[in-house]
Amino acid sequence: MSDAAIAETTSAAPTHEGGDTGPARSLASDAWRTMRRSPFFWISSALIAVFLLMAIWPSLFTSTDPTQAVLSDARVRPNSEAWFGRDIQGYDIYSRCIYGARASILVGLLSTVLTTLVGGTVGVFAGYAGGWTDTLLSRLGDIFFAIPLLLGAVIVLVTLPATDNYFLIVLKVVLALVVLGWPSMARLMRSSVIQVKPNDYVQAARALGASPWRVIRSHIVPNALAPMIVVATINLGAYISAEATLSYLGIGLQPPTVSWGVDISAAVVGMRTTPHMLFFPSLFLSLAVLAFIMLGDVVRDALDPKNR
C-alpha cells in the first residue's frame, strides 16, 4: 500500500458511518437512525397513522352513517353519490370501510401484541431454563396447539357471558385468538432462544457475573427476536381475517358492529356479480396488513447491525 493510499484511508475514517466519534450510541438509537433513512418506514408509518386515525375518529373521514340503509340503492356500483358503491343492505361501503377500521385494527393489534407478549415470555423462559420447566411449558403449549382454531374459539366465545358492549365483544374475540395463538409464538421464541443461548457471548456475560435477567434482556432477547417480529406482523393480518371468519360463523363481532371482516364475509356471496362489495373492504384489510408487515420488516432490519 502506498503512502498516499494510507493517508487517504486515514482521512476517510472520521467521516465513516456518520461520525464514529460522537456520543455513545445504543442499538435502539442506531436502529432509529437507520429507520429514518428508509422510505418504507415512512410509507408504512403514514399508512398506519391513517388507519389509526380512522379507528379513533372515523367521522373525520366521512359524514355518512355506516348503518343507514338505502335499500332502493342496494348493490349499486361506485358512483359520485356513494364512492365505493353500496352493499346488499344499501349501506355505503366507503363509510363502512372507514368505520370498520376500529374493530379490525383493535382485534389485529391487540391479538398480535398479546400473543407476542405471552408466547414470547413463555418461549424465552422455556428456552432459557430448559429441563423440567421447558418440558412442562412445551407440553402445555402443545395442548392448546392441538385444539383447532375455530373449535377452540367457539368454545371460548360461547362460554364467556354474552354482552352488548362493543369493547367487551372485541376483547372476547381477542381473548379467543390469544388463548389459541400463543403456543406457536412460544415455540418460535423457544427455538431461537435455544439457538442463541450456547453462543460464546452469552457464556462471556455469565463469566462476567451477569444475572440471568441481564443475560436474557441484553443478550438473548435482542438476538432471538427477529423471527418473532416477522411472524407477528404476518399474523396480524391472519388475526383480522380470523376475526372475519368468527363473525361469519356468528360468534365474533355481530352486525350492527361494523368491521372489515364482517363486510368481507357478507360480500363473498356476490363475488362474481358485485365484486366491488368484496374489493373495497379487502383492499383496506390488505393495505393495513401490508403496512404492518412493511413496518415489521424495517424494524427487523434496523435491529440487525449487519444489514447496515
Partner: protein
C-alpha cells in the same frame, strides 16, 4: 517462586450419558478426570493436547461456567467451589476468560463500547458511571484498537481485531488470571502472532497470569512459562517450558512434539517421527491403568493395571512431573528458544498497534501478508523472498518446485 493465585485440586468433570425413554444414566463421559496444578502470579501456564482431551472443559471448570463433579478450584487460598453467589460474583472479577471464536464471542447487536463496558455495568462499583466511556476507550487503546471505533459493531472488525475486543473485555475488570481458551486457533497465522504478542505485552503491563489453552505447540511454547500436556482428561506431563519441550519424558508428549513441523528442509526425512497407531479411546470408557497404554510403544503389563501418578521423574537434567512408569527423556526436536532474541529488523515489526488501520483489517500493519510469526522460527534462515523469486538463478527455482511436488 511467586505466590500461587489459582490452584486446581483433583478437578473432575463427568457428563452423564442418558439413554432410553426414562433418560437413565448409562455411563459417564469423563471429560476431565483428576487434574491438579498451581498457577503462579504473573506466569503463563500452557495447556496442550489433542481435540477432545478435556482442555476446554478444564478452562470452563476454572471459570466456574460448569460445576465440577469433584475437586476444587482455589483462588488465592479461597475455595471457589463452595463460594456463595455473592462471593462468586466478586471472584469473577479476578478470573476472566477469552474465548476461541471471535465471531461468536461478541454480541452482534451491541456496539464495541457496550461490549467492553458491560463488565462495568455488572460490577457497578469498579468505575463510576461518568468515567466508563473514558475507561472503555483506554482499554481499546491498550489492546491496539482505535478508541474512536467505540460505536462500531463487531461485524465491522476483522477476526484479529475482534479477538482484541474479547481480550479488552476480559481485562476490563483488572483480573489477576485470564483463562484463554484457544484464543488464536481461529485466526490467521499472521494475526495469531499479533494477538500473542499483545497478550505478552499485557502480561508485562498488568501482571496477569494466563492459563493458555491451545493445540498449537509452537504458540504454546512461545508464550508459556510452564506447560501441561493433557491426554484423555488427565495431565500426562507438567513442567517448565524447556523441560517439557527439550526433555519430554512421557511418550505421549514425545509423540506430540515429533509432529511439530520443523522449518528446516535439510532435516526432511531425517527426523524420527513417532506416528501413533489407532485413535484416541473414548472418554466414556477410558483404558484401565495408564490411559495412553493402548497407543504406547513402551507399554508393558503394568501399564494396563497400575495408573502412573503424576510425580517428579528424572528427565536427564533434573526432574519434572510426568505420569509414565517408564519415563525417560528423549530428544525429539532440536529447537531454539527465541524468547530472548531481538527480532531481526528485516522483518516487519511485532508492534500490535493498528491505529492507522481505518477499515476492517486493511491498513498498513493489520494486513495479511506480513508474516511476523514466521520470524520466530525462521530466524536461522535468510529471509525468504516468497513473492518474487530471484530470477538470477532460474534453474534453482525449477528444482525447488520439482522438489516440492516430489
Amino acid at each position: 517462586m511467586p505466590e500461587v493465585v489459582l490452584s486446581a485440586q483433583n478437578l473432575v468433570k463427568h457428563y452423564p450419558i442418558k439413554r432410553g425413554v426414562l433418560r437413565r444414566t448409562v455411563g459417564h463421559v469423563k471429560a476431565v478426570d483428576g487434574v491438579s496444578f498451581d498457577l503462579h502470579k504473573g506466569e503463563t501456564l500452557g495447556i496442550v493436547g489433542e481435540s477432545g482431551c478435556g482442555k476446554s472443559t478444564l478452562g470452563r471448570l476454572l471459570m466456574r461456567l460448569e460445576e465440577p463433579t469433584a475437586g476444587s478450584v482455589t483462588f488465592e487460598g479461597q475455595d471457589w467451589s463452595g463460594a456463595s453467589a455473592r462471593d462468586t460474583r466478586r471472584l469473577r472479577r479476578d478470573i476472566q476468560i477469552v474465548f476461541q471464536d471471535p465471531y461468536t464471542s461478541l454480541n452482534p447487536r451491541m456496539t464495541v463500547g457496550d461490549i467492553i463496558g458491560e463488565p462495568f455495568e455488572i460490577h457497578a462499583d469498579v468505575v463510576p458511571k461518568g468515567g466508563r466511556r473514558q475507561r472503555v476507550q483506554e482499554l481499546l487503546d491498550l489492546v491496539g484498537l482505535n478508541p474512536e471505533h467505540i460505536n462500531r459493531y463487531p461485524h465491522q472488525f476483522s477476526g484479529g481485531q475482534r479477538q482484541r475486543i474479547g481480550i479488552a473485555r476480559g481485562i476490563a475488570l483488572n483480573p489477576k488470571v485470564l483463562i484463554c481458551d484457544e484464543p488464536v486457533s481461529a485466526l490467521d497465522v499472521s494475526v495469531q502472532a499479533q494477538v500473542v504478542n499483545l497478550m505478552e505485552k499485557l502480561q508485562d503491563e498488568l501482571g496477569l497470569a494466563y492459563v493458555f489453552i491451545a493445540h498449537d505447540l509452537s504458540v504454546v511454547r512461545h508464550i508459556s512459562d510452564r506447560v501441561g500436556v493433557m491426554y484423555l482428561g488427565r495431565m500426562a506431563e507438567l513442567g517448565e517450558e524447556d523441560e517439557v519441550y527439550a526433555r519430554p519424558t512421557h511418550p505421549y508428549t514425545q509423540a506430540l512434539l515429533s509432529a511439530v513441523p520443523v522449518p528446516d528442509p535439510t532435516l526432511r526425512g531425517k527426523r524420527d517421527q513417532i506416528v501413533l497407531v489407532g485413535d484416541v479411546p473414548s472418554p466414556a470408557n477410558p483404558p484401565s491403568g495408564c490411559r495412553f497404554h493402548t497407543r504406547c510403544w513402551k507399554a508393558q503389563d503394568v501399564c494396563s493395571t497400575l495408573e502412573p501418578e503424576l510425580e517428579p521423574r528424572a528427565d536427564g537434567h533434573g526432574e519434572h512431573l510426568s505420569a509414565c512408569h517408564f519415563a525417560e527423556p528423549r530428544l525429539v526436536v532440536e529447537t531454539v528458544d527465541v524468547t530472548g532474541i531481538e527480532p531481526d529488523d528485516r522483518f516487519v515489526s511485532t508492534d500490535t498497534d493498528d491505529l492507522v488501520d481505518a477499515g476492517a483489517g486493511l491498513g498498513a500493519e493489520g494486513g495479511g501478508e506480513e508474516l511476523d510469526s514466521g520470524q520466530a522460527e525462521d530466524r536461522a534462515r535468510p529471509p525468504a523472498t516468497e513473492d518474487t523469486p530471484q530470477v538470477s538463478d532460474p534453474t534453482r527455482v525449477v528444482e525447488d518446485t520439482r522438489d516440492n511436488q516430489g
